[in-house]
Amino acid sequence: MTEVLINSALQLVLLMLVAPLLSGMIKTLKARLQTRRGPGILQSYRDIFKLLRKGMVIPETASWIFSATPYMVFGTATLVGLMIPMTTTHAPFSLFGGVLAVVYLLALGRFFLALGGLDTGSSFGGLGSSREMTISAIAEPAMMLAIFTVALGANSTNLSEMAKVAVGQSWRFLAPSQMLAFAALFIVLIAETGRIPVDNPATHLELTMIHEAMVLEYSGPYLALIEWGASIKQLVLMTLLVNTFFPFGLSSDWTLQTIGVGLAFYLAKLLLLACMIVLVETTNAKLRLFRVPELLMVAFILGALALISTFLF
């Protein structure tokens, strides 16, 4: 019982603290790669604290949905974070639900974010919401197909079970179906976190923005919650990617040493994935909006092929 509590507390702290750090890290790495100095790694923390201390402006036309959205976005992301294994094979909330709950909780957060964008009646918010829904309509099935491929290999949709099976088979990630699923999920990760070929996280450009357009009306603590929630969601998706496909170093017992090793491995894997994202963001130009479904279609087909090839191989 105490172990579960310690595990939950540890994972919660990790989620809250590592997520902004990871966003900051990606920003800094990207700046360095483009030979800029860039903000420090801690900039995301500073932004969040600054926003939390500021006052808020709430539009007159806003209903309760506008105020509920930041909590929903933050809450669903954190809840999902507690349902996936991070440093140990046992996720604290693994009894609460498996892959399906993860996918639908993420969808719930996204649904509320889109509603929040629409709620104030501003044209930019509606534009952002409509774009977000267009993208997620294809990204979500692709993500499900990719995760189901892994679930099929483990004979369970419980992420902790999947991690346990994955730790047992060290060479499994070399299987073609796993690789196809990884490629699909990587594209989905880029789309869901609003990275460059799909959305540009660095600008407020009317013609291209998606995430920024939806949160345009938010300010102060609400904006802080939304941005923090978005970075937690990014961390959650990246964790899902590294831990289901490369489960090295996930500790299965509770000694201090294995947890330490697990944590070190986990952070190293995250850093590697962040480097991959930075490379993709720096070497690609942003796609035109109507080309984005093509990219996601590739992800969808890769996911479908991954699922089919588990039956054929």
Binding site: W171, A175, P176, M179, M297, V298, L305, S309, F313
Partner: protein, 176 residues
């Protein structure tokens, strides 16, 4: 202690690389820029050469190394260079205009891959469950899929140069 290559590991690496080639092929279908599609072709050829090298290493067949080297030098080095120069000389930096739109093309390629697997299945006899038979099973499926997608993409494009690129792509499929 002499290092003995583990054939099972070799099989896994080869299957993985074959899958990578397949992923690149689907990416090439989704790609509009002609230069980037040539570059994808170069990477594919390099992977093919690497597959040949892995086969040579794990089966200790040194003559396959020659094939691997030739593949890498000619198909991953020389040919893409020539094609890119050609693109620059003709001055068509424009995007490829496919007859069928991209999302549908990708769906069709997915279907063709499936067809490749179904066809390869008929060559597979489970009673010969040696490692080599299983390897042939996987890579044959990928090769047939590459071949079919290559044909489809070639038919799907209008410009002669892009068709040439896809024709060379068919060699890759046959080589695989």
């Amino acid at each position: 202690m002499p290092f003995v290559p583990n054939p099972e590991l070799g099989n896994r690496i080869i299957t993985l690389m074959a899958a990578l080639v397949l992923v690149l092929q689907i990416a090439a279908v989704g790609q509009r820029g002609i230069v980037s599609s040539i570059r994808i072709f170069a990477v594919q050829s390099f992977l093919l050469g690497a597959i040949a090298a892995v086969i040579a290493y794990f089966n200790q067949a040194s003559h396959i190394y020659i094939a691997a080297l030739l593949t890498v030098f000619l198909k991953a080095g020389l040919l893409p260079r020539l094609l890119e120069r050609l693109v620059e000389r003709i001055g068509i930096r424009r995007e490829i205009e496919p007859l069928i739109n991209v999302p549908l093309s990708i769906l069709i390629s997915g279907g063709l891959t499936l067809l490749g697997y179904v066809v390869a299945e008929s060559f597979y006899h489970p009673e010969e469950t040696s490692a080599r038979a299983a390897l042939g099973h996987n890579t044959l499926a990928v090769a047939i899929a590459l071949f079919l997608i290559g044909f489809f993409v070639m038919v799907n494009r209008r410009k002669a140069l892009t068709q040439v690129r896809d024709f060379i792509d068919l060699w890759n499929a046959i080589g695989g």
